[in-house]
Structure formats: C-alpha cells, structure tokens
C-alpha cells in the first residue's frame, strides 16, 4: 500500500509544471517521501538481518542475538540507532562506520592539542576517523591554496614588473591529496600489515590511522605562516615541527613497547622507531620542497 501511495505522489510531482511554487511544494513532498522511504529501508534492513540468524519470525527473545523484543516492531529512525550497536550492521552499510565517528567536538580538540608532546607521547582521548580525515583534507586545501600563493610571490620577486595574475597550478591539489591521504590511511595500513611479531602486535589498525592522522595536525597552523617566511625560516620551522611531532609519534609507540615488556627486541624497536621518524620528517620535507 505504501508502494502505491508513493507512486501516486511521484506522478503528481512529475505532472506539475515548471512553476516555482509548484517546485517548492513538490520538493516538500519528495522530502517526505524520502524520509518515508528511509524508514522503510531501515525496517527492511532490520528484517533481513533478523532473518539471517533466525529461521522464522520469533517473538520471544533469542539467546544468540541478544536483541530486545521491542525491536521487532518498526521504530523511528533515532531509536533504531540507539538499540543496535554499529557492529551489528554489515561492513558495506554506512551505519557500520558510525562507530568511528562517535566523537564530540571537545574530544577532537583535545586530541589535536595532545598530538604534540615529545615527552609523554601522543595521548589520544578517543579513537576516531573524523580527525585524521578532516585534518588531512584541511591540509590539502591549505597546501593547495598557499602553495599556489607562494609560487605567485616567488614569481613576483623574480620579475618585479609582473602585472600578471596568479598562475594557478591545479596539480598542487592533486599531488597534495595523494601524498596526504596515503600518509594518513594507506601507510598505517601497510605498517600494520607488516608490523611483525613485535611489540606492536596488539595494535589495531584504527589506532595507527588515528595516530598518524593527528600527528599531522600541527602542520596546519604552520602552513598558514609558511608563505610569509624567508627560505631559511621555512626550512627551520618545517623541520622543527616535523621533528617534534615525529618524536611524539615515536614516543607513543615506545610507550606501547614498554607496556608489552619486550626487552629482547631492542634493536628491532629502534629500527622501527627510526623508520617512523624518518618517514614523518620526510613528509614535512616533501611538503616544503614540492609546495613551498
């Protein structure tokens, strides 16, 4: 019955003319239809997932699923999410990933502030993907824009009578995005895959991603100042910040080593720490060379 009613609505919307007022009304109808459809889809998902574990609809609580009986009735969108943990959703559904975004503004800000601490290492409040992803994206935007701005300044210095407009190099954005996204996402995954039976054996991928993502966060304010420094100033500041964040990163990993108490692998630990530090500083240097 709901299918028929939705069909009727769509017919009425397509038959309405190009009148602006009509578009407004039909938009509202479409919004309502969308919401209705979403609720329907969610109920359908709920049914599908129940049928995976059960052979027939059962109104008594099942031991293995641990779901409450009240879930069998269709529920509005908000309560649905509170009853089910994100892990119950399949990997390809969006709701599965909401567990990585279960974070508040306060947590993100604290994570950023804590991400530079060479003495104690990075102490993250909560593991999330929001921070790493948006820090990387912001860095890309900043590097792309300020990098072009820097080349403009350089071209101004070269020919003093340059009346030209800034030559915008879009490649900067593409290079920046590939470098940064791989550093934040692909590199930790590779690192995690090859982590060997060392003290890092119990680290989870998401912790590494989070760690590497937040370690980039102090490059953000740095980038704001870079175009306005002299050449040596740029090098000094980039190296300082990279070294500090690199140290914090290494310190965090070493802390885990102490917790694991793996004393007979000192050499391996040192090598791994060195690699992490060098790659991190390498990133800073690469940013300086390519963009500024």
């Amino acid at each position: 019955m709901s299918e028929l009613s939705l069909e009727n609505n769509s017919q009425s919307t397509t038959s309405s003319g190009n009148d602006f007022l009509d578009d407004d009304l039909s938009l509202n109808k479409m919004i309502d239809d969308n919401n209705q459809e979403n609720e329907q889809q969610l109920n359908n998902n709920e049914d599908k997932e129940k049928n995976e574990g059960l052979e027939f609809q059962n109104f008594t609580p099942q031991l293995d699923l641990g779901q409450k009986t009240t879930e069998i009735e269709p529920q509005p969108l908000v309560e649905e999410k509170q009853d089910k943990s994100p892990n119950d959703y399949p990997v390809w559904s969006l709701n599965y990933y909401s567990q990585y975004f279960d974070i508040e503004t306060r947590d993100v800000l604290l994570n950023i502030l804590n991400s530079i601490n060479p003495i104690k290492g990075i102490a993250l409040e909560k593991i999330d993907f929001f921070g790493p992803f948006w820090i990387a994206t912001t860095l890309i935007v900043l590097i792309g824009s300020l990098g072009n701005f820097t080349s403009y300044i350089k071209s101004l210095e070269k020919n003093k009578d340059n009346a030209g407009e800034p030559q915008f190099d879009f490649h900067k954005i593409t290079y920046a995005s590939s470098i940064l996204y791989s550093y934040v996402f692909i590199y930790p995954i590779i690192f995690w895959v090859f982590r060997l039976k060392s003290f890092l054996a119990h680290t989870k991928v998401k912790q590494l991603i989070c760690l590497f993502g937040y370690s980039l966060s102090w490059l953000l304010p740095l980038c704001l100042f870079l175009p306005f420094l002299t050449e040596s100033g740029k090098w000094v500041s980039i190296l300082t910040v990279s070294a500090l964040t690199g140290f914090s990163l290494v310190r965090t990993i070493l802390k885990q080593w102490k917790q694991a108490e793996n004393e007979n692998k000192t050499k391996l630990t040192l090598i791994i720490s060195l690699i992490i530090f060098l790659i991190h500083c390498g990133l800073g240097i690469a940013i300086k060379i390519i963009f500024f």
Partner: protein, 174 residues
C-alpha cells in the same frame, strides 16, 4: 469496507508484488527514485557545469581539462563527503536531499564567479567571492545545523565551511 478488510486487501496486494517477481518492486523503486532524483539534481548539476566551465576557461592551456574535471570532482565528491560526514555523526538527513541543498547553495558562488569574469581587479574580486562565500555558507548552515546533535555541531559544520572555502578560493585565484 472496514479497516480490517482494507488492510487485508492491501497486504494481499503487497504479497502479490513480492510473489510475482523479486525484481519488480526493486525496479519500480529505482524508477521512482530516478524520477525524483533526476529532477532534483538538475539544479546542482547545472550549477556545477557552469562553475567548471568558468573556472576551466581561465586556466592555463595545459590544465583546462584537469581543472574542469577537478572542479566537477571537488563539487560532487565534496558534497558527498560532507553529507556522509553529517550522517556518520548522527545527523538525520537523507543523502540526496543534503547533496541537493549543498549543490543549490553553490549558486551565490556561481554569481560571484560570473562577476569575477567581468571585474578583474583583485579587491573587487575578493569582495565578490567573500560575499558569495558567506551567503552560500549561511544558506547551507541553516539547513544542516538543526539536524545535528548539539555536541557535534561544529564537527558537522566545519566540513561545509571547508567545502565552500575551497570553491571560493578556486574562483578567487582563477
């Protein structure tokens, strides 16, 4: 007819739908979606095309295609990512509705871009782009803001700001 009888007939109709062929309701659903979406996304598509053409026409010759494609990707991918971000943070929006709103809110920036073609002076362009940026951001903030839980508001709104900032920068620098 009593309500019970009506309900019985309705559920029978539903069963018939499901029984006849599994594909039937799905294709109907998809067709319905396409009809609704196709109409709604024309606006943002036109906005995006205009913007891409404007920005790529002023580019260096070897980068025209790259910028055209790049702007396209930034707008659609950016709108999608911002929407997904809002959804993951627990916002109660529908995906296409949000993408649609973000696309339509680009319109002030399109006006700025058009104005920037005619007035090449740097200060005038900055003013135009700034006005367009503020206008677009406020427009979409008004839509998304009420749908996000309070403690995550900044987290959901910051990407919107970033999205419009990127596009404004592209317009300004061109």
């Amino acid at each position: 007819m009593s309500i019970l009888e009506e309900n019985k007939i309705d559920s029978q109709i539903n069963d018939d739908f499901l029984e006849s062929s599994l594909d039937e309701p799905i294709s109907q659903t998809i067709l319905r979606d396409v009809k609704m979406i196709g109409r709604d996304l024309w606006g943002p598509l036109i906005v995006c095309l205009i913007l891409s053409v404007i920005l790529s026409s002023k580019a260096a010759d070897n980068q025209t295609q790259l910028i055209f494609a790049g702007v396209f990707v930034i707008i659609w991918f950016g709108a999608g990512v911002v929407t997904v971000n809002a959804l993951l943070l627990g916002g109660k929006v529908s995906f296409f509705q949000s993408v649609c709103v973000l696309g339509y809110s680009l319109f002030p920036l399109v006006i700025s871009a058009l104005l920037c073609i005619f007035f090449r002076h740097i200060i005038a362009r900055t003013v135009f782009v700034l006005v367009g940026f503020v206008w677009s951001t406020i427009a979409s903030l008004g839509f998304i803001s009420p749908l996000i839980p309070k403690n995550k508001k900044t987290l959901a709104l910051y990407p919107v700001f970033l999205f419009y900032f990127t596009i404004s920068w592209l317009i300004l620098v061109n």
